[in-house]
Symmetry: D5
Subunit: 130 residues, 10 copies
């Protein structure tokens, strides 16, 4: 009865799916939050955990949530520094859904008593002109 999903060993943007936005022309903001993200520290290979918030204004497509979940899972066995995780997710999402705007905030789990949050933002050329 239940589908078996792949367990990824590298970042896999190909699982990301864009769906047509049914109200094309009408601006909405979509905010996606998840506390279920884990990758590896590139030096120690110990796991890092993080809370992710993504906001975007769709243009002609929206991201399919299940595909986003699978995409985020593909970081599970990947070693990568915090600043690169944020830029990598941002770039992959922008390529697939081509939004008007998109921002990402990732709060990484405390390490050595220090909590780190990294944030990045994308504006399409059309949005910048306004």
């Amino acid at each position: 009865m239940k589908n078996k999903f792949p367990v990824f060993d590298k970042i896999t943007p190909s699982v990301l799916e864009a769906m047509p936005y049914e109200y094309d022309g009408k601006d909405i903001n979509v905010c996606i939050e998840t506390g279920e993200f884990t990758c590896l520290c590139p030096w120690t290979m110990l796991p890092d955990f993080a809370y992710i918030v993504i906001n975007y204004i769709p243009n002609k497509t929206v991201v399919e949530f299940k595909s986003l979940k699978l995409y985020l899972q593909s970081y599970r066995m990947v070693g990568m520094v915090h600043e690169s995780v944020v830029n990598s997710i941002l770039n992959d999402l922008v390529k697939i859904i081509k939004p008007k705007e998109l921002s990402i905030d990732i709060k990484f789990g405390i390490r050595g008593g220090i909590t780190t949050t990294v944030s990045a933002e994308y504006l399409s050329k059309e949005t910048k002109k306004k």
Copy 2:
């Protein structure tokens, strides 16, 4: 002693009632919040639950709260994606109460570890001119 209300099987904007705004000409903001909203996922037909926040500045009419409650209930057996729920409620409310401004934020219950909030806004032509 108690009135029996209909159980809806499709979105029913006709139950929405506008009442005259008694202080016509004086701007107020009306904020309406409810944690009692449920519709269905269009693919699995499993229920979705959501928290809704509506803000509007009335023009000549305000929405009657009981009628709004009935209207929101009419999504109970309807399969619809998140982005469409927001646009559908926005359009029906604007049509009935013709506000100066109206915004909607809907936070949908967590699915697969992901929480989604969709937001949309309406500005009347008069408001845009300012």
Copy 3:
């Protein structure tokens, strides 16, 4: 030893008292909050409860707090819709203390799963000119 206060059966702006503001010319903001307000639903005569926040910048007078408390109590047996309660309190306060600015937010207790907050604002002519 204790004073007996009147129990009101209608809105009684005459109990409101203005006191001279001792630092006339120096702008301050006064924020008044109370969770002790109740009036009646005009259709069912069932009680409504609300949390009120008032902010104002005094001109030459401030409101005496005990008199404000008595004034708010005078809504206890009055049936009135939410939007009118806000406008009624705003108008009475502005008439008595003639502030530079005054705003009111009233969050009414949940009914049928819906919470409603109504907000209104007053700006004196002098304030608008700036």
Copy 4:
């Protein structure tokens, strides 16, 4: 369309209604909470507000919630000290629904910087014997 309810001027236990408990013989606990209660201070006639928690194990009847709401409203114009409010509600409820056990906690709104909570409990003869 809406029913008009009476506005009480004295405690009215006659509005309380007991309904048969459908699972007679099976113990359940029913916990009822409300932040919408107000009566008057017997000396000053200023309103008191309170948060009420009632717990009971029904015997053969349960209390009808709407009737409980009306009963609690009947304290609205009554002057009564805190300790008496608790005993009065306890006695009226026990008389009507004849529970196995019933307890009441009432937290009264802060006065002069002091918050007061009064609690009382009823055990039926059968319960005490155990």
Copy 5:
């Protein structure tokens, strides 16, 4: 890709599935919580929403979570008083998984300013003997 689930119009205990408990003989407590439950008020047919907590000590079987989710959904179009909902779920679960102990607490959404929580408990004959 996605499975389509039935939309129920009556309580359907037949969807509940028991799975063998792999550590038979070793006591564990399983606590299940969900804020996604809705049924109808039997008099008004208006929806009720509730938060459910189930605790049980399995004997030889545990409940399969997806099947529990489907079972709880089957109350969606059913009119039933609060005290009966609790007893109905308790009886169906006990029949299917035959636990050593099982308790249920259901907190129903606020109505008329009143929140109600109903609790019930089951002990197997073996547990009672201890």
Copy 6:
């Protein structure tokens, strides 16, 4: 071993001490918060309690914290209305430390169910010119 401090019976600005700001020319914001403030109601002589927040941008001096503590204590036996307390503290601090900007928010303890917060702000001539 312990120093004995004076118990004040009137407002005593002379205890306030300014210390040179070591990084003169570099703007910082200093935020000071305390829940330990009490004065008297001028009419009843009953004590008032308050939570104070002070923010300032130093010019050439900063306030010594212990001296500020002593200064705030000097209101302990003084009867004064809320609006005057705020202006009095503001004026004394500005006179001693001559800041670029300074603001005060004082939230007074609930009285008769009403909480009051009074706020005031000072801008030096140099700051206003910008």
Copy 7:
């Protein structure tokens, strides 16, 4: 219009008033909480602030709340160590209202990064025998 209250310079148990408990024979618990208490450190004469919780089961009398407030104020100018404040209030209250049981918890404001809570309890001879 307003009564003037005395400003105390020593602990004044004589202001405490006991009122007859109207439901003599019926056990209730009365819980009194206040965040408005201040005394002085006996060594430095700097003020201490505290949050007080008193619970008691009345016998034939209850404490009048306004008189309790005045009594607590009488510690305002008194230097006393934490452990003694608790025992002093306990002894005075027990002497006046002769309760079946009475307990006090006082949480003193943080000093040097340390928060201290002192608790004491009284049981009447009749209560101890049970």
Copy 8:
């Protein structure tokens, strides 16, 4: 400068290390909490996330924290139902540190709107005899 740790593909109790408890004979309770645990759902291979609380009273040894961290990581790529995860960790820990008592509570991330917490407990023979 940094050590590289292994990435596990199966549960690896051999990494768990016991250290001598220096105060052997003196009972203490050690409570260990972590929000950084993830394994896989055995049917879908989608990740599960959980919050783990372990309490134990050591006998002659305590668990070394870093080794516990590595051990918990070894579930990262393992598919296992909730009830088995709890029993598996309990058994491995008891075998290594031979405590007087040990309990585990694991709260798994919400799935389909349902949160599940599974708890188990171990008592040594000596503890049971008491």
Copy 9:
């Protein structure tokens, strides 16, 4: 004006001072909490931070708070495992104030995603006999 305190480089129980308990014979509970404790990890010499809660029932003496503060500071440059810190503080305090009962809970700051709380308790011979 200010006293200079020593900076310790080893645990210094000699700074602990006991004061006579003025109500000798009357049991009270004293609860002491502080978030200002730091020692070193014995292996890495990196600092550990902790939140400490101490509860005790005095016999003939109480601990002087300032001396306790100094004593806790004396761990600042000491490397010590969590379980030993708890036993060390317990033993030193019991030796100085000879309480009827004393318990300590220390919650250490998160390390590698794991939070640890260690608890220990002392009962005097007299207390054990009861």
Copy 10:
């Protein structure tokens, strides 16, 4: 197995390490928070504790987190007033990582009932020109 780190006795900026920012040209914000900071009061030599928040936009380098942790520890035995701590950290970080912008907020632990937060900000010449 574990590396031994130095225990510092003076501020040691030389441990701070800058790493190349891999996405040079793409603006991100990095927010770093820690509750593990302690220095000494310059007058009493008693420890101060603080919560630090650092935000910066990297230019060509980011700060290595472990090195930042070591740098912050080097304040452990240093006596310094609050305003200077903030400016000292700001200056050292700016010198090493040469960010586009950097801000620091430090909330120091309560002393004498007063909590203090000091904030400072750096803007590079390029950022100011915009």
